[in-house]
């Protein structure tokens, strides 16, 4: 008879890390397939690509997976001196495919494959291995890889078509919804949502973006699956997305926008994908409940701040990497306040005040810029002329602008309510002809002193028409 000595407990839950990672993979499969459809099958059906191009999205993702797997295995062999069985055990428990998989899902399809490989290399080595491998890294490895690619090779990617696949380049043109939102600097449904269809296109993923981020519907399904399987730190995505929703709701309300605006904000820019898959990366997010709550609130606040106050549309990526640094601090707060619930209220109240103040501040900053800028309208547009209006000093100025092959040939003022004396100054300065003659160098045409507002209005008309023709 042999009695084994073991340390208790003598029963253990059936859950294990392998199962968690497998479930994560299962949750990603529909998203991968959708990306295959959107960037491959759809292109093939519309004769935008050949058979290789059809399977290219899958090849792209597979390349990411293989790269990070090989990089980690070789790294373990060379630098950790693991061989044979030990190497096998290491591979089994290091989950090396994930950095590469996620890098390929957070990059656009136009990323050249060698740059993707480089990104995966950076993700695995700089993002994971130098900290000591799985479980020890501070930053989300995939986002490190993605940050590296986007900050170093963004010009190459945008010259390849940026975030739009070949089909979208023809049907939509331009940029991703958030980049577009940066350019138009105006908050209205027509310029933010309409170019891409309607909100259901945002929900079901018919918008430009990276491989994994576009189909909000499938991401929500994946979230539900992961929640039911107890895989995910569920508080993080729920609070993160809600914070962004509430803040953009306030910003929208200040600017008189409807519910579509906060919905647009959470359905674009990879927020859902980031919230569900990147912000909840167990290794780089807090382990304590309160820590997770604060982490998620701050993620939301940071994302909104980055989106509105800086020029980078990649608010999600930057916020997650920023918050990764604060995880030890948040866990400290979280573990102390487990014993004193009242103390936990202090950081939370501070966060709510920050959230409200920031939203109001951002909302108001849009309010003022809108008064200045957004009065230009195209009323009619043909091959030979535009009929446009712009707000002048006394009311709208209406003009017919004749064009020929991308140049303005003649400007006819149809209506103006400007003060006569001011308008005379413009006529005397021969300002309209100046605008036509200098249209290639329009920014340098000075306004007419004494009739600044009226002349600026005319100049804006010309600038906008020129932009539209190039468009």
């Amino acid at each position: 008879m042999k009695f084994n000595m073991l340390k208790g407990p003598f029963i253990k839950s059936k859950n294990n890390t392998n199962k968690i990672m497998t479930n994560l993979l299962i949750a990603l499969i529909p998203i991968i397939l959708f990306s295959f459809y959107k960037n491959g099958i759809l292109l093939y059906q519309n004769n935008k690509t050949d058979l290789f191009g059809m399977f290219y999205p899958l090849i792209f993702i597979f390349t990411g997976i293989i790269t990070s797997f090989l990089v980690e295995t070789i790294y373990a062999y060379l630098f950790l001196h693991l061989k044979n069985d030990k190497l096998k055990d290491y591979i089994k428990t290091s989950f090396s495919i994930f950095p590469g998989l996620f890098v390929s899902l957070v990059l656009p399809i136009n990323t050249p494959i060698e740059i993707l490989i480089l990104g995966c290399l950076v993700a695995t080595i700089i993002g994971k291995m130098i900290y000591g491998g799985f479980g020890h890294n501070i930053f989300n490895p995939a986002l490190i890889g993605c940050l590296f690619v986007l900050s170093t090779y963004s010009t190459i990617i945008s010259s390849n078509g940026g975030f739009l696949n070949k089909y979208e380049l023809d049907t939509i043109g331009g940029a991703t919804p958030l980049t577009n939102a940066k350019i138009v600097e105006r908050l209205d449904y027509d310029s933010l949502v309409k170019p891409y269809g309607d909100l259901s296109d945002f929900f079901f993923g018919n918008i430009p973006g990276t491989l994994g981020e576009t189909c909000s519907f499938l991401i929500i399904l994946a979230f539900i699956y992961l929640l039911l399987k107890h895989v995910i730190k569920w508080k993080i995505p729920i609070i993160y997305v809600s914070t962004v929703f509430i803040m953009t709701l306030i910003i929208g309300k200040i600017n008189g926008l409807g519910l579509w605006y906060p919905l647009f904000s959470i359905l674009s820019g990879g927020l859902l994908f980031g919230a569900v898959f990147m912000a909840t990366d167990p290794v780089t997010s807090p382990t304590t409940s309160l820590g997770q709550v604060i982490y998620a609130f701050l993620l939301g606040i940071l994302t909104v701040t980055f989106r509105y106050l800086t020029n980078a549309p990649e608010g999600v990526l930057t916020s997650i990497l920023t918050m990764n640094m604060f995880v030890p601090l948040l866990d400290r707060i979280g573990s102390s306040n487990k014993f004193a619930y009242k103390k936990a209220l202090i950081p939370l109240i501070a966060i709510f005040i920050l959230l409200a103040l920031l939203s109001i501040n951002i909302g108001n900053s849009f309010n003022t810029s809108e008064k200045e800028d957004s009065n230009f309208k195209i009323l009619e547009k043909t091959n030979s002329y535009y009929i446009v209006t712009e707000k002048g000093n006394g009311g709208p100025i209406k003009a017919k602008i004749y064009i020929d092959k991308d140049t303005i040939t003649k400007i006819e003022i149809l209506e103006n309510n400007e003060t006569e004396s001011y308008y005379k100054l413009i006529e005397e300065a021969n300002y309209i002809n100046k605008l036509i003659n200098n249209q290639k160098n329009i920014e340098n045409v000075d306004t007419v002193s004494g009739a600044t507002i009226s002349s600026t209005a005319l100049k804006k008309m010309v600038i906008n028409v020129l932009d539209d023709m190039e468009g």
Binding site: M1, K2, F3, N4, M5, L6, K7, G8, P9, F10, I11, K12, S13, N15, N16, T17, K19, I20, T93, S94, G133, F134, G135, H136, H230, K233, P282, V283, S285, P286, T287, T288, S289, Q292, D331, G334, S335, S336, K338, F339, Y341
Partner: protein, 413 residues
């Protein structure tokens, strides 16, 4: 703070032993552990009768011989926690005569009650083995909670005792009520335990103070703090008496009954012997101090040659390296489980499940991270740990976090 229910569901494994009880009251020899500061009251070769005081403990309570026989030498044996300790050996002469006579329990005073418990060595049978008279030696007792939850898998010793002796338990509760004039008495059982519920209800109907409470089928619902939190919606710091509450195990109440009614000391108890590897899974009433291997006549041995023998429940129990260990007064079960795969821990995923599930709100993962930083360990309140083992149970990376917290507890002491 309300009813925050923290706990996990475990598979019960209780069906096989639920309705089974056997007796083994004639061991060849019995052993009693001599703890630090204990005073031995007998000499070698002295003849003792059943129920005779043989050890005086540091709490001024006594340990009694569970058989009649002759005191032999002090020997080294393995206790149920697999530690080598000194034991007094008593050889059974099988000349036991039942000398326990019935007492009149009317008008018993509190002083009589306390001294009775003290003299008869009644201890809490839930596991800790703390002297019961200390618990009851308080003037301000308003609530009594009877713990019949038994939340660890396999164990049915309390259940069967409660089921068979509910009349005596309720009689004891009435006596305690008369002494302390309690506000309320709760009998806590597991929810969905219909048979037990239906058995208890007719007995408690007469005393309106006694209420049957069904608690969720979660581990560790049988933990005092969880029970008080669930039933009384309140928290205490160290002991429930801070809130005028006493929590007693159902089997303890039965031994109080025997002590009061027959002046019978704590010399017998029910032990569950169960697990896949035990041939005859059963409950057995044994003399305290019996060597476990003597019970082979009852449990019939093991199913395989290589086994894990666990004393106590599978969550909080201990591994023993032999079946020749001694059954003390606070052991409820012995479980033989098939050789389990050694769990190879892998790197922590930092999923936070251990922190989420800890009933004492410790963050085991952070304890593990800071195991060499004593100041940080103090801040993490490691001394609150009740060693329930949930952190080790839920960990998907199979890290034995309880060992880290145990180590941390020792460090901050």
């Amino acid at each position: 703070m309300g009813e925050i229910m923290i706990g996990i569901k475990l598979s019960k494994h209780k069906k096989e032993t639920m309705n089974k009880i056997e007796e083994f009251l004639n061991p060849k020899e019995v052993y009693f552990k001599i703890k630090e500061n204990d005073e031995v009251l007998v000499k070698e070769n002295e003849k003792v009768i059943v129920g005779q005081k043989i050890i005086k403990t540091k709490y001024d309570t006594y340990i009694h011989s569970s058989v009649s026989g002759i005191v032999k030498e002090i020997t080294t044996m393995i206790d149920y926690q697999n530690n080598k300790s000194n034991f007094i050996k008593i050889e059974n002469d099988f000349n036991e005569t039942n000398k326990f006579k019935e007492n009149d329990l009317k008008n018993i005073t509190k002083e009589q009650f306390i001294s009775n418990l003290k003299e008869n060595g009644i201890v809490g049978l839930g596991g800790a083995g703390f002297p019961t008279y200390v618990k009851y030696n308080n003037d301000d007792v308003k609530t009594l909670i009877i713990n019949a939850v038994e939340c660890e898998p396999y164990i049915t010793a309390d259940y069967i005792n409660c089921f068979n002796n509910i009349d005596k338990i309720v009689e004891t509760l009435n006596i305690i009520d008369n002494i302390y004039n309690l506000n309320e008495i709760f009998i806590a059982i597991k929810t969905k335990n219909r048979t037990l519920k239906e058995k208890i209800i007719p007995y408690i109907i007469k005393n309106k103070k006694i209420k049957l409470i069904e608690v969720p089928n979660l581990y560790p619902m049988g933990w005092e703090k969880a029970l008080v939190r669930y039933i009384k919606h309140t928290d205490y710091d160290k002991l429930p008496i801070e809130k005028s509450i006493i929590v007693s195990n159902a089997s303890t109440i039965y031994s109080i009954y025997e002590s009061l009614k027959y002046n019978k000391p704590l010399i017998e108890k029910i032990v569950t012997i169960s697990g896949d590897n035990i041939i005859n899974k059963t409950n057995v009433k044994v003399k305290i101090g019996t060597k476990f291997s003597e019970l082979k006549k009852i449990y019939k041995g093991y199913n395989s040659k290589e086994i894990n023998l666990v004393t106590g429940g599978p969550m909080m129990g201990y591994s023993v390296e032999t079946d020749e260990f001694i059954i003390p007064n606070n052991l409820n079960s012995v479980i033989g489980i098939k050789k389990i795969k050694e769990f190879n821990p892998i790197t922590c995923l930092r999923c936070g499940k251990c922190s989420d599930h800890c009933p004492t709100k410790i963050c085991p993962v952070l304890v593990k991270d800071n195991i060499n930083n004593n100041q940080e360990l103090k801040r993490l309140n490691v001394e609150r740990c009740i060693e329930c083992g949930i952190c080790s149970f839920v960990c998907p990376s199979k890290i034995n976090l309880r060992e880290y917290v145990r180590e941390a507890k020792k460090k901050v002491k």
